[in-house]
């Protein structure tokens, strides 16, 4: 399970992506740093316990909930509230889980899950990579060691951005090592 939820894993086991070629090894699997999930987890927890305090809130404001909403509506409304909260939690998790950057020994594969119903996939062969750079900025990036890795390519998609990935310096090193290996093979076949 550690690998499944990992934001940085080298040679992950039991992972397969669409169109993965036979013998193609996944070298790196990257996601955004887990700390990115703190805002939606915190708000979900607060929203989960919020209905417990609505009665006190109505009493504090001097309102009678029975006069505003008929009693027989309340169970349905409460269930709908938790249904929407469940959807929010599930979709927020999916957004983190399926926003993956994969580096194999042949190519880079970028699955961007933007929001509900919007996701796109792009990939480029390692030979097409021209430049790899990274930067760490902001307090969060410095404290938790996450940053953005930019990969310039000569492929259809000119730039791949691995955003807020853990240990960007190491990611940069791994990709440049792979590139050096490929170029060495090209020079001495």
């Amino acid at each position: 399970m550690g690998t499944v939820f990992s934001a940085f894993s080298e040679y992950p086991l039991r992972l397969h992506f669409q169109d993965q070629m036979e013998g193609e090894k996944v070298v790196l699997l990257l996601r955004q740093h887990p700390v990115i999930n703190i805002p939606w987890i915190t708000s979900s927890l607060l929203l989960f316990i919020l209905p417990l305090f609505t009665n006190s809130l109505y009493n504090f404001l001097g309102l009678d909930i029975g006069k505003i909403i008929p009693a027989f509506f309340l169970p349905s409304l409460l269930l709908i509230y938790y249904l929407i909260l469940l959807a929010f939690i599930f979709l927020s998790f999916l957004r983190w889980f399926f926003n993956v950057y994969i580096v194999t020994d042949h190519r880079i594969f970028d699955l961007d899950y933007h929001s509900f119903l919007f996701f796109n996939v792009s990939e480029a062969p390692l030979e097409n990579i021209q430049d790899v750079s990274f930067h760490v900025n902001g307090g969060g990036g410095i404290i938790f060691n996450y940053g953005d890795v930019f990969i310039q390519t000569a492929a259809e998609k000119a730039e791949f951005d691995f955003l807020k990935v853990p240990n960007p310096a190491l990611v940069h090193d791994k990709i440049t090592d792979l590139l050096q290996n490929i170029r060495r093979k090209e020079v001495s076949p």
Binding site: L15, P70, F73, S76, I80, L83, L111, V121
Partner: protein, 82 residues
Amino acid sequence: MTGGEVLGLFVESTGLLLARVTLIIFLGAYLVFSLMIVRQTVLLNRLLQTSLSWLLDLLSWFHLLFALGILVFSLFSLKIVG
């Protein structure tokens, strides 16, 4: 009963009916939304297969069944059916 009271009762009952119908339409639309979540999860799991894929599929189906359960519950509790 005065004319004003009759009008008041009419407005109240129409308001309640409108609220009931709106809630049921909302839940029907939500069911479609839940189906889209299931479909999207299946597609994403096809793109990236992990050991967690089955659980994500299961959760999306659970969400759909939860929505269906609430729709049925609301139909009975709001006395639209039964």
